[in-house]
Amino acid sequence: MSQANREITISILKYDPQDKTVEPRFVDYKLEETPGMTLFIALNSIRSNQDADLSYDFVCRAGICGSCGMVVNGKPVLACRTLTSTYPEGVITLLPMPAFELIKDLSVNTGKWMDEMSKRVESWIVTNEETDISKVEAKVEPKVAEEVFELDRCIECGLCLASCATKLMRPNFVGAVGLNRVARFQMDPHDQRTDEDFYELIGDDDGVFGCMSLLGCEDHCPKNLPLQNKIAYMRRKMVSVK
């Protein structure tokens, strides 16, 4: 416990698109590293003690809400789950995530993109069946429920988009997050949509056929979703649609 704490430098790209008088610039902040310090703790300390005008987004600070994606030393990560001690050089560079509209400094508008994506892939149960909620629920094979849950774990953090060069080149690409969402509903027994219906949503080069299998998504997803496997699954389903 009593080892001397080292000093770390956090270098942040600051830019306020609404304030054209100041160019984007890197600002270095030096602070003492405390045991178990995450970027959440570090950034809050910077805001309270050094720069009250620093913008970033945290909500749950526990790796479950998907708010805090940023690019740390080149890699998109959830900042709240990132310990400063994982960078032995003691220099940490923070950039806002690409792929999203920049709000200010490290804050990007993931919510807007995700809502549009959800509407675009109709990310909800579609069925003509009315459920009588006073009656016993429909049975679901436990294995199937588990598989759907596995895909439902996506937290819309957007790291898969920030690490997908395809998405960065082609802003209209729906990304792994969208394809995963479709796979999720495709597998859900409550959803009555057919593969033809799903083809209408993702059967084009902005959809599943736009994915170039770069697998940045798979390798950066903080929830370890089986994205490669599920995109492949959707691709097979979609090419076999008559």
Binding site: G74, K75, P76, P98, E122, I125, V126, T127, N128, E129, E130, S163, A165, L168, M169, R170, Q192, R193, E196, D197, Y199, E200, L201, G203, D204, D205, G207, F209, C211, M212, S213, L214, L215, G216, D219, H220, P226, Q228, N229, A232, Y233, R235, R236, M238, V239, V241, K242
Partner: protein, 256 residues
Amino acid sequence: MNTTKSSNMGMKKSRMPARLDYFQSGSGLILGLFMWGHMLMVSSILVSKDFMYSVTKFFEGSFLFEGGAPILVSGFAFFIFVVFIVHAFLGMRKLPANYKQYKVIKETSSTLNHEDTKLWFIQAFTGFAMFFLGSIHIYIIMTNPDQIGPYASADRIWSGWMWPLFILLLLAVEFHGTIGLYRLCVKWGWFDGEDPRKTRKTLKKVKNYLTWFFLILGFTTLGAYMKIGYDHRHNVGERYVPSTAMVYQIDKVEVA
């Protein structure tokens, strides 16, 4: 309440993107596997000039017609050429469409420091290069089907100054091809099985071994042709005459 909603009522979305994706992979698969075969054939020179000669003759259909018919090679080359062009055009859709996109993918693949993204960048770059390099080579082969053989090929490589082109083409095709086949597997989830992540690691390993294998084989072969071509530089145009025993043997096998 819960009516089935569809983005464009009644109008069915074109199936074309699905077909194009399918054809791109199909053409890639044909080319990728063809290149394995191709490399093994071309490297027959490493065994002996005779062997290479027989292989050539075999592909000219010597087991059907006496002496073989080079037109067969032309035909086959034409087929590959078509696949090649189709693949190239399908592939080109995926290449960066403008400088801005190029910069994005280039920067991402370096700052992200992510292997598979870098691999794609290599693939795109080599694909683009092959559009030129490969076309030249296939065009030459297609139009000169009779000029394949231990001396003819070696002369073309050395005295015809094809070797610089082949160095580039060899690098390009081996990287592009093995990465492409790896990508095909992950793209369609072919061998995913129970544990797709483990499969991917294995595939990556196999890919790396294959790249090394074909590069070493290719460059040794190229070296052999260059050596023969250099030794043969004063007799360009002369055709190789095989030792009869060899032909006999091969013929016998084929006839049987």
